[in-house]
Structures are given as structure tokens and as C-alpha cells.
């Protein structure tokens, strides 16, 4: 059961009030499929330039990463020119 933290605009779209929502998923692909029920264009947003942090590890171009039962997933705006 991964705990997903959504930032400002995503949280509004997902209609969640609290900081985090619980989503059962063994890896990122599964997580995104489940999240699509709440945010239909979540995959487009990730491709367009959202970074994802899994347990503190910021991943700029995530796809297959596995999730631990107590993993925390954060969606971050992509870092523009962020790795100079």
C-alpha cells in the first residue's frame, strides 16, 4: 500500500483533502493506472515533465520502479534546468 503525496494542483484534481492518499500498488506502472481513475491525464502530466520521488529518491523519468509496502511517493514539478 503506497502512500501518495500530491502537490497543489494535483491534489485539487484528485479531490483529496489530506496530505496523502493510500493506493495499493506493487510498482509505479500499477500506481499510475490506479491514479488515472482520479486524475485521467496523470500519464500525460508525468510525460510532460513531472518528477517522482520514491522514498526520498528523486527520479526524473520514472516508469517501472518497484514500490515497498510502506513506500512514500511524491509528485514534484520537473526541475527546469535543475541539474547544472
Amino acid at each position: 500500500m503506497a502512500r501518495v503525496f500530491l502537490t497543489g494542483s494535483l491534489r485539487a484534481l484528485a479531490g483529496s483533502t489530506g496530505e496523502a492518499i493510500e493506493i495499493p500498488a506493487r510498482d509505479l506502472r500499477e500506481l499510475l493506472t490506479r491514479l488515472e481513475e482520479r486524475i485521467p491525464d496523470i500519464r500525460r502530466r508525468v510525460d510532460e515533465g513531472l518528477s517522482i520521488a520514491i522514498d526520498g529518491d528523486v527520479i526524473s523519468d520514472p516508469l517501472l520502479e518497484t514500490l515497498e509496502p510502506d513506500s512514500e511517493v511524491h509528485f514534484l514539478p520537473a526541475i527546469q534546468g535543475g541539474r547544472g
Binding site: 511524491h74 514534484l76 534546468g81 547544472g84
Partner: protein, 759 residues
């Protein structure tokens, strides 16, 4: 001098932590190392770029016939020679870059968007002929009103740079185009509630000017492209794989048609993580049928390559009487230059990182008629740290608490949720603050007109993709092949890690930086990632080779592989191996042909477990009250490197970051006239620090190992430029009693502030 301090038990290394001479050093002190402009080929032509004299204008027509007719001119290129690129985000290089914008920055299409924007290019028999040819290209412009300042660009009636630019990150999506390219917001908790509960609240607005990375080597390239459509490019860049990918994308070529050979790079600091000349050189060579060399003048580097953003930052922060920060809110406006892409996202992410507080930051990326910004060492972070660390200093003073104690009271540490989302893993923020507090500099006496400032700095560092191959020669020596340009001594660090893995002498390791056709893909040198990520690939590749060596030893001894262990450069039988003699690397390598063939280790990976890092700097300044001149009289930089592989180069990164930060704080700025022309495009009036401006820069390396790396490495290149601006500003405040919030702190500005405070 440097003293390494760490609490953890210290594993015994033979090479890691020592200071061997870098393997590529002799060529560099003999003047034999080849940088971008040092390559020459038979029949080579010289390429030059015609640049826009206007800050904003429509290109009505370009007539190149006059230039083409000139004797000695072999080719002319305009936007028509480059394919129209659809807007598509690139995932490599410096983070999301829009290929359409990149193409239009390499050569203007329909509109010029800044003074110095490339409009056409020629290839001719000599630089002088090329210069004359530029004068024979007739361009008809329809001059448009321009906007140079981030504030003005946001007003509704400001001239629009892109009529198809709608602000991203705003819900609901806006209907009217704007100069605000995007909005980004991050935070934790409810800062407004915290601010309401604070005993002290400080609210200030900060301004910084655009500054340049200031690399001493101007951009340079030599390219050749044959009738078979195959190109070879010798480029001085921070990533030749990025150069290949960007050129292929902008020219509509396959990457297999382009080989990029890395020249030595004469400094980059993030400014050479993109393309300016390379695509043009390829097209000029293809049209002329001859190799083409292009070298920017220093004036072109200033007018037309990426500076760091000018910024305006508003910050409100509050704390309780006993020094606990209760909340903070920041609004960051970063100028992106002609195309979207300022590092405001990274600034929003990093500015509160040193502190365990509820805080929220919103950032705006704003286009203006100035050159497109490029990354500059921890992009976006130094300007934001200027704001946060200045206000933190003021709050500490209001509470009457020592500024380092105040920071320790609020320091983020392992397990704390960051304001950009994830919880911090193992970090050295507290240890770095404690090492600074313990340093003799912190309590040393000050002379009249002197002041002392302290500041923290953070950078998250990068992982990204790296590949390495390790070839074992039959004399038992090892060639370590990787694909990251070596800006500051990384060949030495990679060789040291390989020597440690093989257990052999470093002289027997030959680190090579290979071209794009000779090693697996490597993301660029940036994000302080090379020793971390490429280092990880080298270690994996060495371990792959060692496994093969153990297999060969097992075959020679006729035992199972787990009957063989590797230590001190030789294969040894595990316990119970009886009378088997150890086999050295050379012994096994000599028999490689008969035991299966060449031994080659290989690794390609996306590096995980990036080690975020912190720095704390202490700065003493002396301020001349009658002229406003600020002199840095003492400087100490403390930084967590996780593990210092080659301490001299870690110290070098710290000292270099300090010098750039001090220059940014005191004298560096882009000056523009009302027509959008830069007034100081040269090293005389764009004042980078010279040797006599600085004292010795003492360094303290703290080592809180990063669990994510085989040797505990954290990136070190970018953190050191984050603390200097606030450290200098806090020192000036301590010396003069005046809180200055606008850079640079040049003598005229400081004297004006002093006189104003005297009323």
C-alpha cells in the same frame, strides 16, 4: 587547511582519500591538451554568426546573395537550412528543454528575441573573410517593442515574446497568452498558521541581477559532414552525448550519423550543457563540403549564451522568541530570457531545504528579451539562498541567538519531511553546522569596519544515466573507459575507485573519456554527478571484471568460483584451498586468450540513491565606510562530501564555488541599455574576482557517507556556490549594520546605503 571530520568508523582504503597527481595533468601543464578551439583539419573553413542588432524584431527578409558572391565564402546558413521543429520536451540534458525553443535559440526563425540572437552564419576561408561576409548579408527587420525586466513583462500591456505561450501550472488554464511561462508551487504544512503564531516576523524583497558562468574558454567546435550525411564533431561541452542527441534532433538526423569527440573543456559550470554552434557547424560543413571551425568571441559569449536568471524574491518568515521558525512563505520571479526555462523550479525546491519548517514557495518563470538562460551551478539556488539565509540571520539577531545555534535549532535531518515532498534520507546538515561552529574562524576577533556572516546551502545533486567499460590488458593493466567530460579532475577520482576495486596501483589504471561511438550512453557532466553516478558505473564495471577474473582463476585451479576471493590485486583460494598459489591480475590476464578471451567489465545504469548535500560558509569582510568598497578578508567553507575520493579536487570545487559566489555577491552583473544591448560584454567591465581580490579559502570536508553509493560519495560541485552570496551579505550587514537586499554589493551601492542610513 582541510581537515576531514566524520564520526563513522573509517574503513581502510588504499587510494580513496589520497591525493595522486591526475593522469591527464602533464598535457595540461605542457600546453598540449586540446580544447575546442585547438583542433584543426586540412581544408578547414572558419564559421561566424551574424547576430541581431535588435532586442525584439520580426525578420522580414534575409538576402545572403551578396555574401555568397564574395571570394572565399563557401557556405551561408539561415533558419531555412534547419528543419522546423515541433514543440517536444527533451528528457536528457539540463532537464525538460523544449526542442522547438532550442532550435530557435540556435538560429532565429520568424523573430529575433534578444540583441545578439543568431540570424545567419557563414563559412569562409579565414576569420577575416567570414567577418566581411557577415557585413554583406542584408536582413530586413520590423522592429518590435521589447521588454527587459521581469516585473514589466508581467503587466498585461507588456509586449508579448510568444503569442502561443500560455502559463502552465495554473488551473484553470488561461485563455490569453502571457510572458509568464509557468508557475510552480511546493510546500509543507500550513505556513500561514505558523506565521500568525510567530513572535517575530521579517518580510523582505530581494533582487539579483543576471550573471554569467564566466568560463574562460569561449564556446568552440570543429565539425565535418560528408556527402554521405555522416558528421564528426569535436566539441568542448559538458556532455558529448547530449551534443549528439540535440544536433540529431535539430537537424533531423539519426544519432548514428553523428559522432561527437569530446575535446577538453575549459570550464562550463552548467553553461555548456546545451548547443549553440554545433548544429550550425555541421550544416555549414555539409553545404561547403569542408570541415568548419567556429569559435565564439568573448563578446558573443556574453551577448548570446545563457546567463543565470535575474530574480525578484519576496520572503516572509517568522519565529518564536526562543528561536523556533514557525512558518515561511516565498514568491520567486525568475527571468528565463527569450525562451521558457529558468531554474525557478529548482529554487522553489531547495530554498527551505536546510530547515525543518512548515513553508510554501511559489515560483514564476518569466520570458524577457534577453539571452535564454542556461544552468549555472546549482541553478536557481544561490539567489533563493540570498533571501532565506539573510532573513534567517535577521531572525537570529532579533532572538539574540548565535546564528549557527539558531540554524541548528531548526536544522532538517534524516526523517524530516522536506518542503519539496520526500523525507530526507541520511544527510550531513547538522554535522556541517557543528563543524562550522567548532572552527576557530567562528570565534576569531574582528578589526574595525569588519563583519562576519554565516550561511547554509543545499543541493539535491543528480543521478541520471552512466556507462563504463573496463578493459584488462594482458600485462595486467586496466583501461577505464567512460563518457563524461572531465571538467575538474574526475579522471583521477574514477581511476582511484577502479584502483581500489582491483587492488592495484593507480599508475596501472588508465582512465579515458571516449567519444559517443566508443562507450555506452552517458548523461552530461552536471548536477555534481560524475564522481557519484559515473563513479558507480565504473565500480560496477570493475566488479564485473573482477568476477570474470575470479571465474578464470577458478578455471585455472579447477575449482568453483566461490572457492576464489579477490584481494590486493590477486585471486586467492578461499579457506581450505590448500597449496594453491595466488594468481595476480597479470597472471590471469596473460592466460585470458586460453581461458575464454579478453576480460572486459561493463556497466550501464541509472544511478539511484543520490546523496543530497549541505554546506555552511563563514565570511569576514572589511567595508571602507568612505568608498563603500567591500573586501573579503577571511573565508571558511565547510561541506559534507559523503566521502572525499580525491580531497584536493573536493577542496578545489569548494574554493571555486566560493570565488564565483563572492563575485556574484560583490561585482558581477549584466548591464543593459534601454535598447536591450548589453553594455559590459567583456572581462574588463564584467568583473569576475581576480587573484588579488580574495584571501586563501580554508576548507573543511565533513564526511557523512551516502548509503546509496559504494564509497559513500555525495556530489560536491554545486553546493559550494549556494552559501557565499548570503554569507557575504550577512558579513556586510554585521560590518555596517545595514541589511542590503539587492545585488551586487558594489561600492556605489554600499556607499549609497551607508549614507542613507546616516540620514
Amino acid at each position: 587547511m582541510a581537515t576531514a571530520e566524520n564520526g563513522s568508523s573509517e574503513p581502510k582504503f588504499r587510494w580513496i582519500g589520497t591525493r595522486p597527481v591526475r593522469p591527464d595533468g602533464v598535457d595540461k601543464v605542457r600546453g598540449r591538451a586540446n580544447y575546442g578551439a585547438d583542433h584543426a583539419l586540412p581544408g578547414m573553413l572558419w564559421g561566424k554568426v551574424l547576430r541581431s542588432p535588435y532586442a525584439h524584431a520580426r525578420i522580414v527578409s534575409i538576402d545572403t546573395s551578396g555574401a555568397l558572391a564574395m571570394e572565399g565564402v563557401h557556405a551561408v546558413v539561415t533558419a531555412e537550412d534547419l528543419p522546423e521543429i515541433a514543440p517536444e520536451e527533451s528528457k536528457i540534458g539540463e532537464g525538460p528543454t523544449n526542442y522547438r525553443d532550442l532550435s530557435r535559440n540556435v538560429m532565429a526563425r520568424d523573430k529575433v528575441l534578444y540583441h545578439g540572437h543568431a540570424v545567419a552564419a557563414v563559412a569562409a576561408s579565414s576569420p577575416a573573410v567570414a567577418d566581411r561576409a557577415l557585413a554583406h548579408i542584408e536582413v530586413e527587420y520590423e522592429v518590435l517593442p521589447h521588454v527587459l525586466d521581469g516585473d514589466d513583462a508581467q503587466s498585461p500591456d507588456a509586449p508579448l515574446l510568444h503569442d502561443d505561450l500560455y502559463t502552465k501550472g495554473v488551473e484553470p488554464a488561461p485563455e490569453r497568452p502571457s510572458n509568464v511561462a509557468s508557475r510552480v508551487e511546493m510546500g509543507r504544512g500550513d505556513p500561514e498558521r505558523g506565521l500568525a503564531a510567530a513572535d517575530f516576523v521579517v518580510e523582505r524583497s530581494f533582487r539579483t541581477k543576471a550573471v554569467h558562468q564566466g568560463y574562460i574558454e569561449p564556446h568552440a567546435v570543429v565539425a565535418t559532414c560528408g556527402e554521405d550525411g555522416r558528421a564528426t564533431v569535436w566539441a568542448s561541452s559538458q556532455g558529448h552525448f547530449m551534443i549528439r542527441a540535440y544536433c540529431a534532433k535539430l537537424l533531423g538526423m539519426e544519432q548514428s550519423q553523428i559522432k561527437v569527440v569530446p575535446a577538453e573543456i575549459g570550464g562550463g559550470f552548467g553553461g555548456k550543457t546545451t548547443v549553440y554552434l554545433e548544429p550550425l557547424a555541421i550544416v555549414l560543413s555539409s553545404k561547403s563540403g569542408r570541415p568548419v571551425k567556429m569559435v565564439m568571441s568573448r563578446e558573443e559569449v556574453f551577448r548570446a549564451t545563457g546567463p543565470a536568471s535575474a530574480t525578484r524574491i519576496e520572503l516572509r518568515m517568522g519565529c518564536t522568541r526562543d528561536g523556533r521558525i514557525t512558518g515561511a512563505h516565498a514568491r520567486l520571479e525568475y527571468e528565463a530570457g527569450a525562451f521558457p526555462g529558468s531554474p525557478v523550479g529548482a529554487a522553489v525546491m531547495t530554498l527551505f531545504a536546510p530547515y525543518d519548517i512548515d513553508a510554501r514557495a511559489e515560483g514564476y518563470d518569466i520570458v524577457v528579451n534577453k539571452p535564454k538562460v542556461a544552468a549555472y551551478r546549482a541553478p536557481g539556488a544561490p539567489m533563493a539562498a540570498f533571501a532565506v539565509e539573510s532573513v534567517v540571520d535577521e531572525l537570529a539577531a532579533k532572538c539574540g541567538i548565535d546564528p549557527i545555534e539558531f540554524r541548528l535549532n531548526n536544522a532538517s535531518k534524516e526523517g524530516v519531511q522536506s518542503t519539496f515532498g520526500p523525507k530526507f534520507k541520511r544527510i550531513g546538515n547538522v554535522e556541517t553546522l557543528e563543524a562550522a561552529r567548532a572552527h576557530p574562524h567562528w570565534k576569531a576577533p574582528l578589526a574595525p569596519n569588519q563583519g562576519r556572516g554565516v550561511a547554509s546551502g543545499f543541493w539535491f545533486n543528480g543521478g541520471m544515466q552512466s556507462s563504463a567499460t573496463v578493459q584488462v590488458a594482458d600485462d595486467g593493466t586496466v583501461c577505464v573507459v567512460s563518457g563524461n567530460p572531465d571538467i575538474g579532475g574526475s579522471r583521477a577520482s574514477l581511476a582511484m575507485m577502479a584502483a581500489e576495486e582491483f587492488g592495484i596501483d593507480i599508475e596501472r589504471v588508465d582512465p579515458q573519456i571516449a567519444d559517443t561511438s566508443s562507450v555506452g550512453y552517458n548523461d552530461l557532466t552536471g548536477g555534481s554527478r560524475v564522481t557519484f553516478a559515473t563513479g558507480m558505473a565504473v565500480v560496477e564495471a570493475c566488479r564485473d571484471a573482477v568476477r570474470q577474473l575470479r571465474e578464470r582463476a577458478a578455471a585455472i585451479w579447477g575449482v568453483e568460483i566461490d572457492g576464489v576471493e579477490w584481494a590486493d590485486g590477486e585471486a586467492r583460494p578461499t579457506k581450505g584451498g590448500g597449496e594453491l598459489e595466488p594468481l595476480t591480475l597479470r597472471d590471469i590476464a596473460l592466460k585470458a586468450a586460453r581461458t575464454g578471451g579478453p576480460i572486459t567489465g561493463r556497466a550501464s545504469l541509472t544511478a539511484r540513491g543520490v546523496g543530497m548535500a549541505f554546506g555552511v560558509h563563514i565570511c569576514d569582510v572589511e567595508v571602507d565606510p568612505e568608498t563603500g568598497k567591500v573586501d573579503v578578508v577571511r573565508y571558511t567553507a565547510v561541506q559534507d562530501a559523503g566521502r572525499a575520493i580525491h580531497p584536493s579536487y573536493v577542496e578545489g570545487q569548494m574554493q571555486g564555488g566560493v570565488a564565483q559566489g563572492v563575485g556574484w555577491a560583490l561585482n558581477e552583473e549584466y548591464l543593459y541599455d534601454d535598447d536591450g544591448r548589453m553594455e559590459n560584454p567583456g572581462f574588463l567591465d564584467y568583473r569576475v574576482p581576480v587573484a588579488s581580490d580574495l584571501p586563501m579559502i580554508d576548507t573543511v570536508i565533513v564526511e557523512v557517507p551516502n548509503p546509496g553509493h559504494p564509497y559513500g560519495v555525495r556530489g560536491v560541485g554545486e553546493v559550494p556556490i549556494v552559501p557565499p552570496i548570503p554569507a557575504v551579505a550577512n558579513a556586510v550587514a554585521s560590518a555596517t549594520g545595514i541589511r542590503m537586499t539587492e545585488l551586487p554589493l558594489s561600492p556605489p551601492r554600499v556607499l549609497a546605503a551607508i549614507d542613507e542610513s546616516r540620514g
